[in-house]
C-alpha cells in the first residue's frame, strides 16, 4: 500500500479516473460547465502551488499571467489571424518570457515584500488590459473566436469538460514529475531554508526563477482555456480578486499538495455556485466558510484530512 502511495503516478492516475468517472454522473450541461471551470482553475492552482507550496514563494499577481494567456487567445486570432492553439502557445511563451524578466528582481524580495511586488505586477497587467480598450475591448471585455481543429469545432460543455480535464491531468502529471526530480528536491530545500540550500550548493535564485516561469506558464494556459471555453473574456480574469482567489485555492486545498490544488479549486469554484441559493447572504457565507475552513483545517483540506486519517489508523 505504501509503495503504491509513493508512486508518483498515483495522483495523476486518480485525477484521470476522477475526470472519467464524474462524466458518467453529470446530470446536465450545467454540471459539465462547472466541472470544466474547476479543471481550469485547478490547472492554474497546480502551477501556483509549485511556486507557493514547494518553493515557498508567494505570488499575489498570478491572475496577471492568467489574464495574459486569456487575452492572447482572444487578441492574436482576431488581430493577426493566428490559430487559437498557436495563440495559446504564444501566450504561454510570452508569459514565460515576462516571468523570466520580472522574476529576477521580484524574487530577490522576501515575505510580504515579495507579496506586494507581485501584487503590483498583477495590478499593472490588469490595468493595461482594462485601459487599452482599442486592443482588449476595455472593461467590457472582448469575444473569443471558437476553437476549430482540423475542421472540427470544439463546442458544448461536455467537449470542453474532456479537453480541460485532459489539460489538468497532464498538468498534474508534469507537476508530480517536477516535484520528484532533482529540481523539485532543490525547491523543497530552498523552501526549508534558503541559507542551508545555498550551503549545499543549490543556486537559489535560479531555481526560484525556474519555478516562477513554470507557474506562469500553467496560469497562462489555464487562462487561454478559460477564454476558449467561455467564448468571451473580461479584465476580471486578470484582476486582483482573481489572484487572491488562486492563492486561496492553494492554501485551502493544501500547500505542497497536487491533489489539494484540485480540491481547493473545486471548493472555491463550486461553493459560490451553491451559495447563490442564499442570494444576498452569498458573500457572508463565502467569507464565513473561508474563515472556518482555515481555522479548523489550517494546513489545508487535503494535508489536514490525511494526517487525521493517518492518526486514526496508527
Amino acid at each position: 500500500m505504501r509503495k503504491l502511495m509513493s508512486n508518483r503516478l498515483v495522483v495523476p492516475a486518480f485525477l484521470a479516473l476522477l475526470v472519467v468517472a464524474l462524466a458518467f454522473v453529470m446530470p446536465s450541461n450545467f454540471y459539465f460547465r462547472v466541472a470544466a471551470l474547476v479543471w481550469i482553475s485547478a490547472l492554474a492552482v497546480i502551477g501556483l502551488n509549485l511556486l507557493m507550496g514547494f518553493a515557498g514563494q508567494v505570488s499575489l499577481g498570478h491572475a496577471g499571467f492568467f489574464g495574459l494567456g486569456a487575452y492572447s487567445v482572444a487578441i492574436l486570432p482576431a488581430q493577426f489571424g493566428l490559430h487559437p492553439v498557436i495563440a495559446l502557445i504564444a501566450g504561454a511563451a510570452g508569459c514565460a518570457l515576462l516571468a523570466f524578466v520580472v522574476g529576477r528582481p521580484i524574487l530577490r524580495l522576501k515575505g510580504h515584500y515579495l507579496a506586494v511586488a507581485t501584487l503590483g505586477f498583477g495590478i499593472l497587467v490588469s490595468m493595461v488590459i482594462s485601459n487599452e480598450a482599442w486592443l482588449t475591448g476595455g472593461p467590457d471585455g472582448m469575444p473569443v473566436s471558437r476553437l476549430t481543429l482540423f475542421g472540427w469545432r470544439a463546442r458544448g460543455a461536455d467537449t470542453w469538460y474532456w479537453i480541460t480535464g485532459g489539460l489538468m491531468v497532464v498538468g498534474a502529471l508534469l507537476a508530480v514529475n517536477l516535484v520528484a526530480s532533482p529540481t523539485g528536491r532543490a525547491l523543497r530545500a530552498l523552501h526549508d531554508s534558503e541559507v542551508a540550500a545555498r550551503v549545499v550548493g543549490v543556486d537559489v535564485a535560479r531555481y526560484k526563477l525556474i519555478v516562477f516561469v513554470i507557474s506562469a506558464i500553467y496560469a497562462s494556459v489555464a487562462g487561454s482555456a478559460l477564454a476558449l471555453v467561455n467564448g468571451f473574456i473580461t479584465p476580471d480574469a486578470a484582476g486582483f480578486l482573481h489572484s487572491i482567489q488562486l492563492v486561496t485555492m492553494v492554501v485551502l486545498g493544501g500547500m505542497g499538495s497536487i491533489l489539494g490544488s484540485v480540491v481547493g479549486a473545486a471548493v472555491l469554484v463550486v461553493l459560490p455556485q451553491v451559495l447563490t441559493v442564499f442570494h444576498e447572504y452569498e458573500h457572508l457565507m463565502l467569507g464565513f466558510m473561508m474563515m472556518a475552513f482555515m481555522i479548523l483545517l489550517r494546513s489545508g483540506i487535503v494535508p489536514s484530512l490525511s494526517t487525521l486519517i493517518a492518526g486514526r489508523r496508527a
Partner: protein, 290 residues
C-alpha cells in the same frame, strides 16, 4: 504653480487616508505578525455607520462615536473569533483568514446597509479655501488635521502610558513580554481595536469627499498595504510617509501623466523602490537566524 498646489492638496488628503490604513496594518502587524487584509473594511464601517446613523436622526457627533465604537467592537470580534482560534497558523493561512473576514464583513454591510454610494455633508461647509491659487475643500483640512491628531495621540499612547509600552514590548519580543507579565493576548486584541478605531475615523473624515459604499474596503486595504510596504513593514513613521507618498504619486500621476493610469503610478514607484531597497524606505534589513 496653482496646479501643482492643487495636486498636492488632493494627493495629501487621499494620502492621509492611505497613511491611516497603513498605520492600522502596522499596529496589528507589530503586535501579532498578522497582515490584516480586513483593514479597509474598518474604513467602510466607519463611513457607512455614520451615514446610516445620521440618516436615522442621530446628531453627527453621536453618530461618529457610534461608528467608531461599532468598528472597535468588530475589530475585537475579529481578533477573538477568527485570529485567536488560529494562533500558530502559518502567515499565509492567517492572511487568507483576514481575507475571508473582509469578504464576510462586506457581505454583512451589504445586508445591514445597502449597495448604494453614500455621502455625508462636509463638517464645515463646501466653500473652497484659496491657497496660492489652489482651491482646497475645508473637509481636506479635517482629514489632514484628523490624521495629525491620531498620529500625535498614538505617539503619546505608545510612549507615555504603561499599556502603550506593553504593546511596544509585545511587538519587540512576544515571549519576553509574556515573561515580564504582559498579557500578550490582551495586547494583540487591543491592537485590533486600535486599528479598527483608526480606520473608522479615516472613513468618517473622508466620506464627504470620496463617498462610501459597502465595497470600498478592498482597494483601500490594497493601497494601505502597499503604502506600509513602501515605508517598510512594521515602521509606523514609514507607514505614514508611504501613505502620503502613494497619495501624492496618484494625484501627480493623474494630473500630469494619465488619469487612467493613476493607480499604476503608485505601484510602478513601489516596484522601483523595492528593487533598490528590498525592505522599503525605512525598513530594517531582517537578519535571518540559521
Amino acid at each position: 504653480m496653482a496646479e501643482f498646489l492643487q495636486f498636492c492638496a488632493s494627493g495629501l488628503t487621499v494620502g492621509a487616508v492611505y497613511a491611516l490604513v497603513a498605520l492600522g496594518f502596522t499596529i496589528i502587524y507589530n503586535a501579532s505578525d498578522v497582515v490584516n487584509f480586513a483593514q479597509g473594511e474598518f474604513v467602510m464601517i466607519g463611513g457607512m455607520t455614520t451615514v446610516f446613523a445620521t440618516a436615522a436622526g442621530v446628531p453627527l457627533p453621536a453618530a461618529v462615536l457610534i461608528a467608531i465604537l461599532a468598528a472597535m467592537a468588530i475589530g475585537l470580534l475579529l481578533h477573538r473569533l477568527a485570529i485567536e482560534p488560529a494562533r500558530g497558523a502559518s502567515p499565509v493561512t492567517l492572511i487568507i483568514i483576514t481575507i475571508g473576514a473582509s469578504i464576510f464583513l462586506r457581505g454583512l454591510a451589504q445586508i445591514v446597509f445597502d449597495k448604494q454610494f453614500h455621502s455625508l455633508p462636509s463638517f464645515s461647509g463646501d466653500t473652497p479655501i484659496n491657497i496660492g491659487g489652489a482651491l482646497v475643500l475645508p473637509q481636506s483640512f479635517w482629514v489632514l488635521g484628523g490624521a495629525l491628531v491620531i498620529v500625535i495621540a498614538l505617539w503619546a499612547f505608545f510612549n507615555r502610558t504603561v499599556i502603550g509600552k506593553a504593546v511596544l514590548a509585545t511587538a519587540a519580543n512576544r515571549l519576553a513580554a509574556r515573561l515580564v507579565g504582559i498579557n500578550t493576548s490582551f495586547v494583540i486584541g487591543l491592537s485590533f481595536v486600535l486599528s479598527a478605531a483608526i480606520g473608522a475615523i479615516a472613513g468618517i473624515l473622508v466620506t464627504p469627499i470620496t463617498l462610501t459604499s459597502y465595497d470600498i474596503g478592498t482597494l483601500l486595504a490594497l493601497k494601505g498595504f502597499a503604502a506600509a510596504m513602501l515605508g517598510g513593514m512594521g515602521n509606523p513613521i514609514g507607514a505614514i510617509i508611504g501613505g502620503l507618498l502613494v497619495g501624492l504619486l496618484e494625484a501627480f500621476g493623474a494630473g500630469y501623466i494619465s488619469s487612467t493610469y493613476k493607480d499604476a503610478m503608485a505601484f510602478i514607484v513601489i516596484l522601483a523602490v523595492l528593487f533598490v531597497m528590498p525592505c522599503g524606505l525605512l525598513g530594517r534589513a531582517s537578519v535571518e537566524r540559521v
